[in-house]
Symmetry: C2
Subunit: 226 residues, 2 copies
């Protein structure tokens, strides 16, 4: 090991990684619309790099279910549908309940500290910084289940989280959760987790998801009727 400057983890990310994160962000936020054709040439110009990293990034996104590959006709952003949304919500509830129970079973002080910190950071972040907030929000939810000792399960949960958040972005600014206190919901979940009260934590977590789900679904119906 040679130079240990204060921020040594700050090594230049690969082009593939940059492309992956950029395209993923664009799909999640809706900047690239569902079903939209993703032309290599376009993305090349936007991201200013060769075709290979773009293709590789798109290939990665295919297995995240955010991009669909059409035989030899390139890629497109994955389609959305009420069925798909319902499916994701359902699977998420089932998998996260499992993960949360196991996580609480294996919980240790280091994990607890990490959870409290992630909660704190999320609560402090102004909701206006939407993307930054969503990042911290995901970190909080993933930390909750992180101690479950099952990397594959965590991977599935992470994927499902992203698929779900995409619908939240797409529902868009119209969203107003005025009738709910999201902050309190998170705090209650954290407290139940810290108390190692698995039943309560699961109940709160699933309500949290299902309420948001019902909210979004209502939004879709309203939109479809316009």
């Amino acid at each position: 090991m040679t130079s240990l400057s204060p921020s040594d983890a700050a090594q230049e990310p690969s082009a593939t990684q940059r492309a992956y994160l950029a395209i993923r962000r664009m799909i999640l936020t809706g900047e690239l619309a569902p079903g939209e054709k993703l032309k290599i040439e376009n993305l090349r110009q936007i991201l200013d790099m060769g075709g290979s990293p773009i293709r590789e990034a798109l290939t990665l996104l295919v297995s995240d279910l955010l991009v669909e590959r059409l035989d030899q006709r390139g890629f497109r952003a994955a389609e959305i549908s009420p069925q798909n949304f319902a499916e994701i919500l359902k699977l998420r509830c089932q998998l996260e309940e499992t993960a949360l129970r196991e996580s609480l079973g294996n919980a240790n002080p280091a994990w607890e500290d990490k959870l409290v910190i992630s909660h704190h950071r999320m609560m402090r972040e102004p909701r206006e910084n939407v993307e930054r907030f969503e990042e911290l929000h995901k970190t909080f939810h993933m930390t909750l289940i992180e101690a479950c000792q099952s990397p594959v399960l965590l991977k599935f949960c992470s994927q499902l989280y992203d698929l779900n958040i995409r619908y939240r972005y797409l529902a868009g600014k119209a969203l107003n959760y005025s009738s709910r206190d999201i902050g309190k919901e998170h705090t209650d979940i954290m407290n139940a987790a810290v108390d190692r009260d698995a039943d309560k934590a699961c109940r709160l977590l699933l309500d949290h998801y299902r309420n948001t789900g019902a909210f979004l679904e209502k939004h879709f119906v309203a939109e479809a009727a316009e």
Copy 2:
């Protein structure tokens, strides 16, 4: 639509697809050992194609959890471990139970026909044709849960199936199931499914998986002690 020759689905697959299937097969069967470095140049020569399709295939396999990507040091076949094996078994049992119950709930005559056919084909295939048999075996198990109306869940189950079968191949020819009648187990599962008896079908299916799991685990322990 133009020419509908008897075998019209026989269009030339893309290089990427060929590479994907070939490398996947080599990893599943153990031809490429766990942890082994996967050098682009080697694979290029074996598969006789350029580097791009190889990279793309490897990228696809990363998200199947069959290949690991190391920062900027290329790819290697995923490692194996008893923990990983146990995790896969556990997740598989949970997800397939869910899927099977929903599948039986949505079952219709067309699905039932398909199930019977897939069972028949599997039973007819000589066990000597290992790879062909395994293909039919997977088809049978996937058909069981296919009516569950949840593409994401099916994808997860398919991935977990492949991860599991890899361990079966690795345990290798040493396997002898003499104390069990695998054929009968499959037939019983199918019959319970045809009867729409979800409880029974799930019980039999999970026993089927867990028995095989216990068998393999025993094998690993024996191997580690050598």
